[in-house]
């Protein structure tokens, strides 16, 4: 089972609602973010330009660098769900994981002195509800589920997209990010960022 988000960048309009929905749902402090939206572009020269947005949060890597460097075992990948999580009772706030994460999507909570990140809202999904960022997304761009289960929203979104529209964030360290971004070439050319 590989639970993750699939995000359709053909739809995403960069409104930042997912950021705020997450912060309210998970009580994330000012200045901290479990997800952020990055504008890619406009690239080109006026008026021949294109742009898209990357909502970035934990990529639910199959080979997570954050887990490898954690000295206490606080960072782990749930073998059952495939979700990368932090056991806050074990976290000593050393922030090695933040340095190891290739995507910069972990954040240090200065109040509780632990590292935090996207959890995919288990408090909601356990009750068959959607993560807050998915539920409230203003363009219907976010899909949650197990990409190995063809009946999940996430798998269906991938199945509906053409092969040249399926992307992952760059993976120089062989982290195997599971999160999928859909971007059609007609909307914009995918840029290899990070």
């Amino acid at each position: 089972m590989r639970n993750c988000l699939v995000i359709d960048l053909d739809r995403c309009s960069g409104c930042d609602t997912c950021v705020v929905a997450c912060k309210h749902e998970n009580n994330v402090d000012l200045g901290n973010y479990w997800n952020q939206v990055v504008a890619v572009g406009p690239s080109g020269t006026f008026p021949d330009i294109e742009q898209y947005w990357i909502p970035a949060q934990c990529q639910q890597c199959e080979n997570p660098q954050c887990v490898h460097v954690c000295p206490t075992g606080a960072s782990y990948r749930d073998s059952k769900t495939g979700v990368v999580l932090i056991d806050k009772s074990k976290c000593i706030g050393c922030q090695y994981c933040m340095m190891a994460c290739p995507y910069g999507v972990r954040t240090y909570n200065e109040t509780s002195h632990v590292v935090e990140k996207c959890t995919l809202c288990p408090q909601l999904t356990a009750n068959d509800e959607l993560p807050a960022c998915v539920h409230n997304c203003c363009t219907g761009a976010r899909f949650y589920g197990d990409i190995d289960d063809p009946t999940s929203d996430a798998a269906k979104a991938i199945a509906a997209a053409s092969a040249d529209s399926i992307h992952h964030l760059p993976d120089p360290g062989d982290s195997k990010p599971v999160t999928v971004y859909i971007l059609s070439p007609k909307v914009a050319a995918w840029k290899e960022l990070v």
């Binding site: 053909d10 739809r11 309009s13 960069g14 409104c15 930042d16 609602t17 950021v19 705020v20 929905a21 912060k23 309210h24 749902e25 000012l30 200045g31 572009g41 406009p42 690239s43 080109g44 020269t45 006026f46 008026p47 330009i49 294109e50 742009q51 898209y52 807050a132 539920h135 409230n136 997304c137 203003c138 363009t139 219907g140 761009a141 909307v187």
Partner: protein, 932 residues
């Protein structure tokens, strides 16, 4: 765990009296209210999930609120909503903070220091109502009823009808709103004049057909200066995402590379304020290449009519053919055309196209008895003639090949439509742009078809008799109440008979208020919403001519952030004797101007039914209620009751004020709208009543103009000719007599208004302006609606200060780097912003969001200001002539500026942690009962 406390009104007043000392806002006013005699409710956690609707913007998306022991702890979109489908944007989500913001005011406040300071005394509602009523009655007794005026607008303000009618009750003509002529009125009114029905505005929920998923026909949509993905993110933004995913092509006309421009098939980055040039180039291309819908243009528009060169009005058949007997009723005139069957000028009676005795030539010039008549189509063609694609490129800064690609997408579709946005309302071309947008959809025949923007909904839109249009207020409500105003589509005799049925004294009183309204003689289009011309009101306050407004009741947010050339308003505040405000929090306007402020409910507290979403209507619930806040209509209602008590009788019109005086009436009104017997019944069985659904087969209606009605003719449209009038004859009559608003008594004439789209070079043009070489336009960002939410910490940490979007080439010339602070200056003032270097604007254009900074008067500041001078685009905007001729709109967009290196104002917050004083502090406030 929060405690739930039920307070009665009496206990609150008692508590308020105890608390009564002067205090400053910024620190919460609520802390003093700890001891009450109320009974504590059971403190066990009780969680409820209730239906409500977000009121973070005007589209009002359906939502759910989770309530724990009276405290709203979570909001989310309602998945059953047909367009927003569970979305709720951050403007809605952040109400979780603003509802409990330390900036809330929970009790009436009376100024305790000088204007400009943030010192207030908490007073009781009884004292507040008496103070307002005393000021109003004594001023009117001394100076007359025209010394009173009202205003509204600025976001989070629902008091549109209340502001319009409060002055009527006091016999004053003066009311204004920073939107109105600068937002929506021009597009709303032009559609009524030209089409007799709803307009092309996408933000204002007039355009919903493209998001109709039952018939789902829209192949192509032009967003003319609208950015639904930003302004109405969860509803129209979601709708746009679904529409594009279904394969609908889009063209976006916008100087800024908005998210909708990003996703468009063709983006036309027009030079701000020159949209009419672009429109005329579309007309020229469509006429030249015969791309128009010939049958629709011939038989359903007035373009084939011959126009009298002296009157500029269409020639009626009887004028040229004295013995002609029209086959149609008196309410349906016969006109004259050049008939291609007989190759002669012939009467052109109204009929179904296939029954017409003529085949009218759309483009013709005819000389009759030595006089040259052109068809309206010919006049339009000649107006468009100079506007080749190349000329448009030169003037409007859009490459010719892009314009051509856009027009082809628009004309190649079987069904397309134009949806427009606010930008043109904020320019001198406020009437001309909608005239052009309507005219294009009409010559293309994109009218009343499935998939068009120009469609009308519900069974009520299907005519059984000749359609008419009512004027004076929404749907002519004031005409129906007071008997002033003609009904367009009735014959002269029918109008005369109708108007005679009204009591003449009330008619005379209403008519006097109409013609005495400030700025009306020149800008008669403002009659549509009964609003005054804002610069003329300011002038009257400053000079006392023709009368001096002295007591001001403002019904919403930050006027200093919303009014064009805000400093010019600040300068006249000392001329106003007493200023009353109402809002859920204090803004710059209240700090600088207000003497008394009534505390309003936030939207989580206020019961309402507002905008629909497709065929569904939803409840805005009373999810909780804290303090002594009241619904928006109540302060004015209570003040009027007190004035009546003092005077014995109100001096104005009856019924006058149209707003509820008590919460019970507010709630019953909501229950009535949702077809529940009572508020209690609605609360007990909400799922039974919410949403209120119109069956799709009844809701989605098309081809209404072809339906045969009682006179045996096809219904046509609610215009004088019963056809679409892209050559807008009503504008000519309006300029000359005030018709149809001023009827039966004519208003003084002004210069004629242009009946067709014409090009106007902006008064402040970047072409040849060496001192202010860049043209500035503005627009929304998804974080805020109008003046709202600048005190929402989760919005401000993401967008702490306005970006000044500027092309990298221009920035390089100016030595400005990305995210560097800059000074932006116009001929009216200067402000600060952060340069955002982007290829998404033309090198000659800068783009900026309006702004104001509530942190500037936070308790923690050593240098306190009212927060409206630092980053506020309305320091720069232009509120002097030339105005739009019809509506008096001034120039909020498309004026010239210069940009230089600048500095961060010292009391502006930028870092996320700086916004901590905006985090909620009132979650432990007891929940309270209705005050009135």
């Amino acid at each position: 765990m929060p405690e739930t406390v039920q307070l009665t009104r009496r206990s609150f007043i008692k508590a308020s009296a105890l608390a009564g000392a002067a205090a400053a806002i910024g620190a919460s006013m609520s802390g003093s209210l700890v001891e009450t005699d109320a009974a504590y409710a059971d403190s066990a956690t009780e969680t409820k999930k209730v239906h409500t609707s977000c009121h973070g913007c005007i589209q009002v998306c359906p939502a759910y609120a989770y309530i724990e022991n009276g405290v709203v702890t979570k909001l989310e979109g309602d998945p059953d909503a047909p367009t927003s489908k569970g979305s709720l944007c951050m403007k809605g989500l952040n109400q979780l903070h603003t509802m409990y913001s330390p900036r809330r005011i929970l009790h009436p406040l009376k100024r305790a220091g000088e204007r400009g300071t943030n010192d207030w005394e908490v007073i009781s509602w009884d004292e507040a109502i008496s103070l307002a009523a005393d000021q109003i009655t004594s001023t009117i007794d001394k100076y007359g009823s025209y010394s009173f005026f009202a205003s509204v607008g600025g976001g989070g303000s629902y008091s549109f009808m209340e502001a319009m009618t409060l002055p009527m009750a006091l016999n004053s003509p003066t009311v204004f709103e920073p939107g109105c002529a600068q937002c929506y009125l021009p597009r709303y009114a032009m559609a009524k004049f030209v089409y007799g029905a709803n307009d092309q505005s996408i933000a204002d929920n007039a355009v919903i057909e493209p998001f109709n998923e039952y018939t789902n026909k829209t192949e192509m949509l032009v967003l003319w200066a609208a950015q639904p993905s930003v302004s109405q993110t969860a509803e129209s933004g979601h709708g746009m995402a679904d529409l594009r995913a279904r394969g609908c092509k889009t063209v976006v006309v916008d100087p800024n590379f908005s998210p909708d421009a990003v996703k468009a098939d063709v983006w036309l980055p027009v030079r701000p304020g020159t949209d009419t040039g672009l429109l005329l180039s579309w007309f020229r291309y469509i006429f030249e290449n015969k791309l128009y819908d010939e049958k629709f243009t011939k038989y359903w528009t007035n373009l084939p009519f011959l126009i009298d060169p002296d009157t500029k009005l269409p020639v009626e058949a009887a004028e040229l053919f004295p013995s002609y007997v029209s086959p149609t009723p008196e309410n349906t005139p016969a006109y004259v055309c050049y008939d291609l069957r007989t190759n002669s000028v012939q009467p052109f009676p109204f009929s179904a196209p296939d029954s017409s005795p003529v085949d009218p030539d759309i483009f013709t010039t005819q000389t009759i008895d030595g006089k040259t008549y052109k068809s309206a189509g010919q006049i339009y063609k000649e107006q468009a003639e100079p506007w080749t694609l190349e000329h448009a490129e030169e003037v409007c800064w859009v490459p010719a090949d892009r314009i051509e690609a856009a027009v082809k997408l628009y004309t190649d579709a079987d069904v397309a439509g134009i949806a427009n946005g606010v930008a043109s309302d904020m320019t001198e071309s406020a009437s001309q742009v909608p005239l052009g947008c309507l005219g294009l959809d009409m010559v293309m025949g994109y009218v009343n078809k499935p998939g068009c923007t120009l469609t009308q909904r519900d069974l009520s839109s299907v005519p059984t008799v000749r359609p008419v249009a009512h004027y004076n207020g929404f749907d002519g409500m004031f005409s129906d109440i007071y008997g002033v105003g003609a009904v367009v589509g009735m014959s002269p005799a029918e109008n005369e008979a109708r108007i005679k049925a009204f009591p003449p004294d009330r008619q005379a009183q209403y008519n006097k208020l109409l013609v005495d309204r400030l700025g009306m003689k020149e800008h008669k289009g403002l009659y549509a919403w009964c609003h005054s011309h804002i610069p003329t009101v300011r002038e009257a306050i400053a000079t006392g001519e023709p009368f001096k407004p002295r007591v001001w009741f403002d019904m919403s947010g930050n006027k200093l952030a919303m009014l064009g050339n805000a400093k010019s308003w600040y300068e006249v505040f000392p001329e106003v004797d007493f200023i009353i405000g109402q809002y859920p929090m204090l803004t710059s306007f209240h700090i600088e101007a207000a003497d008394l402020v009534f505390p309003l409910r936030e939207w989580l507290e206020e019961p309402m039914v507002n905008m629909t979403q497709q065929n569904t209507t939803w409840l805005q619930n009373e999810c909780t209620h804290i303090g002594e806040t009241v619904s928006h209509s109540i302060p004015a209602g209570q003040v009027l009751d007190k004035c009546e008590e003092i005077w014995g009788k109100l001096p104005g019109l009856a019924p006058g004020y149209l707003g509820d005086h008590t919460e019970a009436d507010v709630k019953q009104g909501v229950a009535d709208s949702l077809k529940a017997a009572s508020w209690d019944e609605l609360m007990a069985n909400t799922d039974k009543y919410v949403p209120l659904v119109v069956p799709p087969k009844d809701f989605y209606q098309y081809y209404q103009h072809e339906v045969v009605v009682s006179d045996g003719l096809p219904a046509g449209f609610g215009t004088e000719s019963r056809k679409c009038e892209p050559y807008c004859t009503l504008l000519l009559k309006m300029a000359r007599t005030g018709y149809p608003f001023c009827y039966p008594v004519a208003q003084e004439a002004c210069d004629d208004y242009s009946p067709i789209c014409e090009f106007i070079e902006p008064a402040e043009s970047p072409v040849g302006d060496s001192e202010y070489p860049l043209v500035l336009t503005s627009g929304r960002v998804p974080y805020f609606h109008h003046g709202t939410m600048r005190h929402a910490a989760f919005a401000r940490e993401l967008y702490p200060a306005p970006d000044v979007r500027i092309n990298p080439a221009t920035a390089e010339e100016l030595g400005i780097e990305h995210m560097e602070w800059v000074k932006v200056s116009s001929r009216r003032g200067d402000i600060s912003g952060r340069a955002y270097l982007t290829e998404g604007v033309n090198p000659g254009v800068v783009w900026m969001e309006r702004f104001w900074n509530p942190e500037c008067f936070d308790e923690s500041q050593t240098h306190k200001t009212a927060g409206w001078r630092e980053c506020n685009v309305n320091i720069l905007t232009k509120n002097d002539a030339p105005f739009n001729e019809v509506f008096g709109s001034y120039t909020n967009r498309g004026f010239t500026v210069k940009v230089e290196k600048g500095a961060r104002p010292d009391n502006i917050w930028i870092e996320p942690k700086e916004f901590e004083p905006f985090l909620p502090t009132l979650r432990s406030e007891p929940t309270t009962k209705d005050v009135f």
